[in-house]
């Protein structure tokens, strides 16, 4: 560690399920250099100050989606956020909002995983395809329809941003709907009708009130708000035209 006098205060919302009834804040003084990420800050705490502090991380480069947490009340990736953005002020870390806290900065994300599974996040081809038929050909325009939404790294910051998910956890939520949209819009896929049923439910697109914060916090510019609200139009058209197009419209 570089020898310098600068320190920054990092406050962590602690919660140890076997010992605590409810979470509490614990403050640490961490040596500061202007190239340190918040992840490095909390790693310093674990390595030198309190080995029991628990948090998820992996790639350190904003692609794995593991290190999401509330940083001064805003959901961010800790590897993509830097101590210098807050220095000399205090940083308060909390587990991602709207999810149950397992321990310290670790959340129970089983609800999100279940929702991800429910949307069939894979291409369902319309007919089995033999190897001899070769690869699917996709024009740049067709790829453009899905590229933005396929950038999702499942980091769940959007769920922490979304107050509707916080108020009603049954809501499918921004990340799952953005990924659902990615597959519906892929010209190689044929499972749109089934996925529409998820969207058409109240807990599908209709729990969204277009707060729009999900798209603001997304570290990959996926714009889940656009995915959800375009599908409000799709869902409404499906609703009104279902007598004319019994297969659910397209």
């Amino acid at each position: 560690m570089e020898n310098n006098d600068k320190t920054i205060e990092i406050e962590v919302l602690r919660y140890r399920p076997e010992e605590d009834e409810k979470p509490f804040l614990q403050s640490f003084k961490v040596p500061f250099t202007d190239d340190m990420s918040v992840l490095q800050g909390v790693q310093y705490i674990k390595d030198y100050l309190d080995g029991s502090v628990s948090f998820r991380w992996s790639c350190r480069m904003a692609i794995c989606g593991s290190c999401g947490m509330m940083i001064n009340g805003v959901p961010k990736l800790s590897c993509k956020t830097f101590l210098r953005e807050y220095y000399p002020g205090k940083i308060t870390l909390e587990a991602l909002k709207h999810f149950p806290i397992e321990k310290d900065l670790i959340i129970d994300l089983s609800d999100f995983i279940g929702k991800l599974e429910s949307i069939k996040p894979y291409i369902v081809p319309s007919a089995p395809r033999a190897l001899e038929e070769g690869e699917y050909l996709q024009t740049p325009r067709q790829l453009d329809r899905i590229a933005q939404f396929s950038s999702c790294i499942n980091c769940m910051l959007c769920y922490s941003a979304c107050p509707q998910y916080g108020l009603k956890p049954e809501y499918l939520g921004p990340g799952a709907i953005a990924l659902l949209h990615r597959y519906n819009e892929d010209n190689r896929d044929s499972a749109k009708a089934g996925r529409m049923q998820l969207l058409n439910a109240q807990e599908g697109v209709w729990d969204c009130t277009l707060v729009g914060y999900c798209s603001e916090v997304c570290p990959k510019d996926v714009d889940p708000a656009a995915a959800i609200n375009r599908n409000k139009v799709n869902s409404a058209m499906d609703y009104f035209l279902r007598c004319i197009t019994p297969r659910g419209g397209n």
Binding site: P23, P100, P163, V211, G212, I228, K232
Partner: protein
Amino acid sequence: MSTRKPYVRPMAGWWLKNPVYIRYILRESTAVFVGIYAVILLIGLIRLSSGEAAWNGWLEAMRGPGAILFHCVALGAAVYHAITWFAVAPKVMPPLYFKGEKVPLEKLVTGQYILAGVIYLVLLGLILWS
């Protein structure tokens, strides 16, 4: 035996904790003023259908200081509704292409302001001079 004991944090007061949420609640609150003004117009229509004296009574009621104060606040609410509406409306539209390039959302926001400006001027013209 599992020692898990997940802690669920309460949502009470959620909208006070982030400026983004406060602006959202402000946006939703404009609905109250929009609704009241629409009712005022409805009452005006009822008076209009009841004859000249009733209509003039409605016009007179608009002159009260309380009424004018309400309408100033309602104007602010309607304007804030418009600003926030134009900001999010592009999210509802499918991707638009112009000359092969995708139109960025910011242009769609600007476009709505221009359209609104034109419509406001047309309406003002019709109301004041036709």
